[in-house]
């Protein structure tokens, strides 16, 4: 591992001839507005143009406000949509708007012009003609089309345009779906393609995938086949749609929107359009050809004919009714695909699913899934057989190598595994036999691979992830991942420390990486023990510092509730208090250790995970980090130093002459409402992150590498912080303020009586207790009253009920 991996990465980008700051987005629909927002997220100055508002009268057509109404309302609608397209609402100011008639000349200032107008060749060509006229020479131009050949769009344009032009296909929502397909034409300059591949990754935080100019490119091409096959098999095996959704979600490593909920979400018409487009435009696609013998199921025809197109029309495969069940929840209907009537959706109870869920290891689980002799196994065996054959046969048609197909499906469809990764999990030979069983083709290159004795599509070697290169018939390092610190690459070396909840690796250059490995990276005694050991080793054996981070989806869901709940229910309070005290002391050790410790996060950074992060010297937070002290949800207060840390931070924010109460309320609210940030940027507002200490990185895969660099940077001039005894707390004056705030929450029925009790304990700790004057106290004093509050809540049956409910139902109980 080189010392300057990431710098090199940025350097590579800097050496390229393009520096982007100003971007023009042409078209303001859902996609256009979404892309504009994401460009604003990464600091671009965006100008978004669309047509003049149609049907204006004479007076209105002289008003700029009226003329821009269409583009402005489209943008506003997107900004308000959920999940939020912006990392922080203030980023909206980076987007300016205008219209094609009055403002087109403004694209002359743009470094990149991206077209996102309606999918119509003629209209797009008209737009590009204007772009060609107004753009500055050398600026980049791209189209977000999902269906029109990129080559056609470049026709009739100037040479400079053609050389600077390619397809850049984002997926909706642009912020959240990481896939970005880059589609060069024959005329596209190599440096332009290279630039977009790199820029998309480093600056936009995307998984860039190099595509060929083939129908629907990579993601949607495979996606169409997968959805079609699922739908056909549902009919063939006579399954209910709820059954198929239960089988094809998290069970096989896919989002819980699974098959039919996903179609409802996307819109059945949209799905149908893409499918038809693919069917009409592909060549030499055996799967599509044989669909002629597999007619579209009746239920699809029924839904499309009646315009039951999914969520946007109120019903599709599912229907949300206005009726409520006895718990006050809306009753959801599901389409019975035989009777074509909507009936209350059921929760399928299938032994097969239960048995499968019990298998933790994904390879064993998938093998079980396809090898059984139930109809469920037959369903999956057919599906995977078709999927493997189809994906493999698309090489080299849609991509010269297969790994971009996996990249695309993981990041564009939120699959945990792409087709070839599934294949590896199921096993190479078993995969081939699945293909043969459904009578599909096993492509020549796979035969060749088998013949040469290669039995894995991927493997880790020498700290690198490698793929089987079909032209060289040998394994090679996956390009574009040089700058990612993938912890899997270190699995082959002997870790410094390892237990059931954590591993410590040497990640080179004198830096250790502390990785959580428990279920959902929860924190229990194992983490505590390993952390103490790691700190000791690092301090005594001359390491430069520690990165706390991992490559999992969630950084950490917090303390191991199961462990705490069990001990509390057995009333082993002494043991619990020791546990809490230990966790507090570990966090204090992190804060005061002699070496720099930097956290790298992504996904959930909850509770105890958040407390650990707050005690580090700083952090590299992936923008998609959802951060919060969520303890209130289980009837607790942050007891690992989190509440103490908030009192400390509030104290540091007070200044001479400050009225203090607004600051105090601001800190209190985050904990008392268990506020979770919707991005790392928002976490600054909630006080989980601190300016100047914590940083945000856009590409999740870069966070550990950047954290390592931060450790090395800090190590050069490191002064270890000491435990503090100058924390300014407000005592009763502060509690008066917070008690009133809590009372209002209670009156508004936003808090239950028990919430009030918890909130008052938080107020007590934040204010340093009911002191009659404001004064300075030590961290340890605050930790002591924090622990006291935590323990008293744990002694309450209502807290135990909350913990139990969350563990059983995976959602919080309000009692």
């Amino acid at each position: 591992m080189s010392l300057f991996l990431i710098s090199l990465d940025r350097l590579k980008l800097c050496k390229m001839n393009y520096r982007l700051k100003k971007v023009a987005v042409l078209g303001s629909g859902i996609m256009g507005s979404g892309i504009a927002c994401h460009l604003a997220n990464v600091g671009m100055e965006v100008i978004m143009l669309d047509i003049v508002t149609p049907d204006l009268n004479d007076e209105e057509s002289n008003s700029i406000i009226e003329r821009n109404k269409l583009v402005n309302s489209a943008l506003q609608k997107t900004i308000k949509s959920k999940p939020a397209p912006l990392y922080h609402k203030s980023f909206a100011s980076r987007i300016k708007t205008g219209n094609f008639e009055d403002d087109f000349q403004k694209i002359a200032e743009s470094d990149w012009i991206i077209e996102v107008v309606v999918e119509n060749l003629k209209i797009k060509k008209q737009i590009f003609e204007k772009v060609d006229k107004y753009r500055k020479k050398g600026s980049l131009v791209s189209s977000n089309t999902s269906s029109i050949p990129i080559n056609l769009l470049a026709q009739d344009r100037s040479d400079d345009f053609k050389e600077s032009f390619c397809g850049t296909h984002f997926f909706n929502p642009a912020r959240y779906l990481r896939l970005l397909e880059i589609i060069p034409t024959n005329d596209t300059r190599q440096s332009v393609t290279d630039f977009f591949m790199e820029f998309g990754k480093v600056i936009l935080g995307k998984q860039t995938v190099l595509c060929k100019d083939t129908p629907a490119f990579i993601g949607n091409r495979i996606g169409v086949m997968s959805a079609t096959e699922m739908t056909l098999l549902t009919e063939k095996y006579n399954f209910g749609i709820e059954e198929v959704d239960a089988m094809t979600g998290s069970l096989i490593g896919r989002p819980n929107t699974a098959t039919f909920r996903l179609q409802d979400l996307v819109g059945l018409d949209t799905g149908d359009n893409v499918s038809r487009f693919v069917a009409e435009n592909v060549k030499n696609d055996n799967y599509i050809d044989q669909l002629k013998d597999r007619p579209e199921p009746n239920f699809m025809k029924f839904l499309l004919k009646n315009k039951f197109l999914g969520n946007k029309t109120g019903k599709g495969f599912y229907e949300k009714t206005s009726k409520k069940d006895k718990n006050g929840k809306s009753i959801i209907n599901a389409l019975n695909i035989k009777t074509l009537k909507y009936e209350p959706a059921i929760r399928p109870k299938i032994d097969f699913i239960k048995a499968t869920k019990g298998i933790g290891l994904m390879n064993k689980r998938l093998q079980y899934i396809v090898e059984g002799d139930t109809i469920y196994s037959q369903f999956f065996a057919e599906y995977f057989g078709q999927l493997f054959s189809y994906a493999a046969a698309r090489v080299p048609e849609i991509s010269d190598q297969y790994f971009p197909i996996d990249d695309a499906m993981r990041t564009g469809y939120f699959w945990d595994f792409g087709p070839f990764e599934y294949w590896d999990l199921i096993g190479f030979e078993l995969g081939i036999s699945l293909i043969e069983k459904v009578g599909a083709e096993v492509p020549q290159w796979v035969r060749k691979m088998a013949a040469s004795g290669k039995k894995h599509f991927y493997k880790f070697e020498e700290g690198k992830k490698k793929y089987y290169n079909i032209s060289s018939n040998d394994y090679a390092v996956i390009p574009g991942m040089e700058s990612f610190l993938i912890l899997d690459s270190f699995r082959s070396q002997t870790p410094l420390i390892k237990n059931s909840e954590s591993v410590v690796h040497d990640i080179g250059d004198g830096v250790l990486c502390f990785e959580f490995t428990g279920k959902s990276n929860s924190i229990g005694e194992g983490v505590g023990k390993a952390l103490i050991e790691a700190l000791k080793i690092a301090e005594e054996e001359n390491w430069k510092g520690i990165v706390i981070g991992n490559n999992a989806k969630q950084f950490s869901v917090g303390a191991n509730l199961m462990e705490i709940g069990m001990i509390a229910m057995q009333k082993q309070f002494d043991q619990l208090e020791r546990f809490v005290d230990n966790f507090q002391q570990i966090n204090m050790k992190i804060r005061t250790s002699k070496i720099p410790i930097v956290v790298a996060t992504q996904g959930y950074v909850f509770g105890g995970g958040c407390e650990i992060a707050m005690h580090c010297d700083g952090g590299i937070y992936a923008s998609e980090s959802y951060i919060g002290l969520v303890e209130v949800g289980v009837g607790l207060l942050p007891g690992g130093g989190g509440t103490k840390e908030f009192a400390l931070r509030a104290s540091d924010d007070f200044f001479e002459g400050d009225v203090q109460s607004p600051t105090l309320i601001n800190y209190f609210k985050s904990i008392a409402t268990a506020a979770v940030s919707t991005s790392a940027y928002e976490a600054f507002d909630l006080n989980y992150l601190k300016k100047g200490r914590d940083e945000v990185c856009i590409n999740t895969n870069l966070n550990i590498g950047l954290a390592k660099e931060k450790v090395l940077g800090l190590a050069k001039n490191y002064i270890p912080p000491s435990a503090r005894d100058d924390i300014h707390v407000l005592g009763r004056a502060g509690m008066g303020v917070l008690y009133s705030a809590i009372n209002e929450f209670r009156m508004g029925e936003y808090m239950s009586d028990y919430d009030v009790e918890i909130a008052r304990k938080i107020a007590y700790v934040l204010c340093g207790g009911d002191l009659t004057s404001s004064q300075q106290v030590s961290e340890q004093y605050l930790l002591d009253i924090e622990r006291e509050g935590f323990m008293s809540l744990l002694g309450n049956q209502k807290t135990l009920d909350r913990i139990q409910y969350l563990l059983m139902n995976n959602k919080p109980l309000r009692n």
């Binding site: 607004p662 008066g736 303020v737 008690y739 009372n743 009156m747 508004g748 936003y750």
Partner: protein, 389 residues
């Protein structure tokens, strides 16, 4: 000796944070109104004013630093003293009542009394929200937010969301009609506000005139109001649409003794026959007028039926409806030109503003007795009975 109201003027009421006065300080506004009023009574030498009594609900920040004194010195001369008083939403009426009391006691002859508020500039909770820990131990409702008191009143007195929305709708309708008829023109002092700002990188100096109340939403509908979400309580009654608006404004009256009236040959327009205050449980502060009204009527030696018109401050539609119901007021005679739901509620100014509006409207209708009443945060009510002369 009897005290008489000789003149009364007010500013238009601006929408807080959005309207014409959002960047205009309330002391400046008061100076404009008082100076204008004095030009209408040339018989009185401004320096002969005994005191300026300024009601203000949040006398801090821009309204701190002895704003009453600042206003008296700037509008009449440094020889004239000034005082700031605070009975929250009743401050403006309380100021008039204090001026009248001082004249009657023989402490002085000429007073300027009224109120101000810039809700654009001062947060309703003040800059440093500091509820008392000890008071909170005794009763959490000492410091409860106004919206929550209105929710509590709506529950206790069975005021429905529908009734509240309808009341709000009617307030807007009546106010729009009153403005269209020009009913407020004579009482409003048009104020010119200077605007200096940077646009497209250049400094621009211009100004605008505020002369019409800004709060009325002419296009509001009951359907529209019914779609708004409750602000304070899940499934509650109180929405932004059926609550009073936050506003900026200033209103002042000139109160003189009988001797001055005779000496300078002035024409009084009204006298304050009685003014009472009373206390209630803070949680139900909205019902406060029901305690103050009977007291004031008794003090004035009248019956409720003698009151021909009432200005009842619409802090919340639910609260106003509860007062009308419990105090047995005739809805037809209450807020004939709409109320705070449409015209705004600049806290400390409101009592004086409503008094001026009432007297003017009584003149048009040739009425003798009228009443101004308001609920007061913290659990109080005020009622003042005016006799038109």
């Amino acid at each position: 000796m009897e005290a008489y109201i000789v003149k009364g003027y007010r500013s238009a009421i601006g929408k807080a944070k959005k309207g014409g006065f959002k960047n205009y300080r309330s002391d400046d506004l008061a100076v404009d109104v008082i100076k204008h009023m004095m030009t209408k009574v040339p018989e009185i030498d401004p320096k002969s004013v005994d005191d300026v009594i300024v009601g203000c609900a949040n006398p801090e920040g821009e309204q701190g630093l002895q704003i009453g004194r600042l206003i008296s010195a700037r509008s009449l001369g440094k020889e004239v003293p000034g005082v700031t008083i605070n009975r929250y939403c009743a401050s403006g009426l309380e100021a008039i009542s204090q001026a009248v009391s001082k004249v009657r006691a023989g402490f002085g002859d000429i007073y300027i009394a009224g109120g101000i508020e810039s809700m654009s500039m001062i947060p309703m909770t003040g800059y440093k929200l500091s509820p008392s820990y000890k008071a909170n131990q005794e009763n959490l409702n000492y410091h409860v937010g106004m919206g929550h008191t209105a929710e509590a009143v709506s529950v206790k007195y069975n005021i429905t969301r529908e009734a509240a929305d309808k009341f709000a709708y009617e307030s807007h309708q009546k106010a729009a009609k009153a403005i269209d008829k020009g009913k407020f023109i004579d009482q409003i002092v048009p104020v010119e506000v200077e605007d200096v700002f940077v646009k497209d990188g250049k400094k621009i100096t211009t100004s605008h005139i505020v002369s019409v109340d800004e709060g009325v939403r002419r296009d509001t509908t009951i359907e529209g109001l019914s779609k708004l979400r409750p602000v304070f309580k899940k499934g509650g009654v109180i929405t932004a649409g059926n609550s009073s608006q936050t506003s900026d404004g200033a209103a002042f009256t000139l109160v003189v003794s009988e001797a001055i009236v005779k000496k300078l040959n002035l024409t009084p327009i009204a006298r304050l026959a009685a003014c009472s205050v009373g206390g209630v449980e803070p949680l139900y502060m909205g019902i406060g007028p029901c305690i103050a009204i009977p007291k004031a009527i008794k003090q004035a030696g009248l019956k409720l039926s003698d009151i021909e018109q009432t200005e009842l401050n619409e802090a919340f539609a639910a609260q106003a409806l509860a007062v009308i119901q419990e105090a047995k007021l005739d809805p037809e005679t209450v807020n004939v030109n709409g109320g705070a739901l449409a015209l705004g509620h600049p806290l400390g100014c409101t009592g004086a503003k409503l008094s001026i509006q009432l007297i003017e409207e009584m003149k048009l209708r040739n009425q003798r007795y009228g009443m101004v009443t308001a609920c007061v945060g913290g659990g109080q009510g005020i009622a003042g009975i005016f006799e038109r002369l």
